[in-house]
Symmetry: C2
């Protein structure tokens, strides 16, 4: 079937034969279908969606556009976690060593931050010497020996997705649930995993602002996973305020280390435990969630998670001493408090605004080619529900060497992100829903 006919059918909401979808992806990747036809197809998908068989065919074709790792020679269940992106989300830094310490193999391919959201690779690189670009053979060795390895995406994983994403980015077709789901899953399935835990963020700091959109995405992801014979769980989690307190490379590494030392913010710990426990259950190393949670908490309490992070860091060329002694991490030359001008209870924090404030300090990227300052960032001193007096700091800015904006401008951003009032604030739920999609 010609590309024209595929676009035409999708436009009119008629089923497209799965083989025709696969052919479209292949022909597009290899340059036989021009960008303008793929752009029209993506916009038609924005309006019409993809059926389950169409989606399966679409993802399979993207997945097989590049290398698919075969980790069957690495013993143990291979389970990864993927987050749709948020502000202050350093879960992976603690989750990967904790899951590995509990007997799951974690082959994790992560991304970089863009806009208001951070990326795991940038955070890892705040650890002196840490290498995220490793050849596949080294990735496999570290995974087998330590139980986890965290690297960046290579050019050889799902090149169709990279080409398509660049096009979607220019044609306003990014915000399509099936296209987002296909993009995520084609990359994750290329990792050679057996199971996947998805953290689908909802709220002001997330890609999905509304629960129903996040649920649709989670269901699409789970459905793809099911269709490909993988075990998949998705948690819908709150991103209406930053996760934890730290936002920015080295600051987030410190907070993850705090967690692994049985300290640090409660919300970060709760989410990390829950997601790691889910990996243990999906990987079949724990019989049920309560037992899985107990094991993760134990691995925090007895320091096995922290030691595992040191071990992984060393294997990937990083300096484990910087984890034991955070003064060896990059740090800002000066800090500055953002004092509150109001008294009351924090009603809400616009997480996206906080993410953009951190970016303005140099902790993030506005374009993919920008460099990140690992020392820059901010620490949220007051979270939703906290009482605040006039003059008390809402947040502390860690001033980087190459900020995009003046400290005054960033301070205004942070202050603007806070809603302070007198109404009592009900406790926010961190984990909103769980969506499961095991093999049929």
């Amino acid at each position: 079937m010609r590309a024209y006919e595929v676009i035409h059918r999708k436009r009119d909401g008629r089923p497209v034969p799965p083989e025709a979808i696969a052919e479209l992806v292949r022909d597009y990747t290899e340059g036989r279908v021009p960008e303008y036809q793929m752009a029209a197809f993506c916009m038609a998908v924005f309006f019409r969606g993809l059926s389950d068989p169409e989606m399966r065919s679409f993802v399979t074709a993207m997945l097989h556009s590049g290398d698919v790792l075969d980790l069957s020679d690495v013993p143990g269940p291979k389970v990864d976690k993927h987050s749709t992106g948020g502000v202050g989300d350093k879960v992976s830094l603690a989750l990967a060593p904790l899951a590995a310490a509990c007997g799951v193999k974690v082959p994790m391919v992560s991304g970089r931050g863009l806009g208001h959201t951070g990326g795991t690779l940038d955070k890892l690189e705040a650890i002196p010497g840490f290498q995220v670009n490793l050849p596949v053979e080294r990735f496999r060795e570290i995974l087998a020996s330590t139980g986890a390895c965290l690297i960046g995406q290579t050019d050889r994983i799902a090149p169709a997705d990279r080409k398509l994403y660049a096009l979607r980015d220019l044609t306003a077709t990014v915000e399509s649930v099936p296209l987002i789901a296909a993009s995520i899953m084609s990359k994750k399935l290329a990792e050679g995993i057996d199971a996947l835990v998805l953290d689908v963020k909802v709220g002001s700091g997330a890609f999905m602002k509304r629960t129903e959109d996040a649920r649709r995405l989670a269901e699409a992801l789970a459905s793809i996973g099911r269709g490909m014979g993988k075990r998949v769980s998705a948690l819908l989690t709150d991103m209406d305020q930053p996760l934890g307190r730290a936002v920015g490379g080295a600051l987030e590494v410190r907070e993850a280390v705090d967690l692994l030392r049985d300290e640090g913010p409660r919300d970060l710990r709760e989410l990390t435990v829950e997601l790691t426990a889910e990996m243990l259950v999906l990987g079949g190393v724990a019989p049920d969630r309560p037992e899985a949670r107990r094991r993760v908490v134990a691995a925090i309490g007895d320091g096995r998670g922290f030691l595992k992070l040191c071990e992984i860091t060393e294997a990937q060329g990083g300096d484990p001493d910087a984890l034991a002694d955070p003064s060896l991490l990059p740090s800002a030359e000066s800090t500055r408090d953002v004092p509150s001008r109001e008294r009351g209870l924090v009603q809400a924090i616009d997480a996206e605004a906080i993410g953009l404030a951190a970016m303005a300090l140099g902790a993030g990227r506005s374009r993919i080619e920008d460099r990140v300052d690992p020392a820059a960032g901010l620490v949220v001193e007051k979270k939703v529900g906290d009482a605040v007096e006039v003059g008390e700091p809402l947040a502390t800015l860690h001033l980087g060497r190459a900020p995009l904006e003046s400290p005054d401008a960033v301070e205004a951003r942070v202050r603007g992100a806070y809603q302070i009032g007198s109404a009592p604030v009900p406790p926010e739920r961190l984990i909103l829903e769980r969506i499961e999609g095991g093999p049929p």
Copy 2:
């Protein structure tokens, strides 16, 4: 506003500032906006439409992408007629001389046939010597001296439309009412007309198969005309069977000449009179429709229309003797009847199938670069409601020199186009609706 933002807004159904629409069209035409962004925009328009201000800006930008004729130095009201295309539609060949004979100036820029529909240029070229490619100055002279001139579109009229149409044709975005309307009107408004009569065809042989779609198109066309300060009328007319009996270049010229000699099929005459009368009213040369119809009928009856066609033909290099003596027109070396295998009343004729049968004989094009055989075509001997006996011819095939299919295959096409049954057939209405859109 960047193209991305325009696409994004249109996708989400938010208003786009008219200036941003105009900028998009200009930047696309001049190569600053890539094809893939325009493709995504067109697909978003397919789903979201264009508001009146957006449409006005879109059409204006397409119109001004090329030359806009100024015919203000040609005295008299300039009025054109445009048909959305059908099978056996030779109205323009009689309408242009009739309107000119009644005092309207007709600057008509026509197209070629494609697929099952014929084009006025191909029909004109069946007249030996007739030139449809004339320089603008000669077009103006003939218009001023004879009252009508019929030419083909030049590269300098609405180049944005040509570029956009080629893209839409490859991206399944042709069938969008606002894009169709913009394409038609940008070309027609470039002719320097004061008013325009639109013949929007509905039915099996038309682009629009359903009355509601045709009505939406007619209303969009009228709305654009109104917005541009032109007087526009649109008639929704039946194309559920071929118009008249002849389909194919020279055969249609003969039928148009028959009409101008007060002979020929009733439906062709009725529609031609109605559309021409509409031009007289819009052009202000007749006070009302009944009087306009009387004048057109008089110009048929006393031969002024026929003489005017001869005059125009001579001015455009054609041989007027071939109009007086149709044996001088191209003719097929052999003909073949398609006898009916059934007895009864003709319930319906699939006009598109008849158009494709004529194309298969060599009378049409499957691709724009194909050549048309002016002698090839067919004559429909039985129309809807006619009684037919077994063995009586349904149609006569005029076999061209380079047919695309065998006579047997074409015969099967024609027979398959006929539905014959015993039910009484109510008379079909030829003119279904009238939609007007004068200046506000």
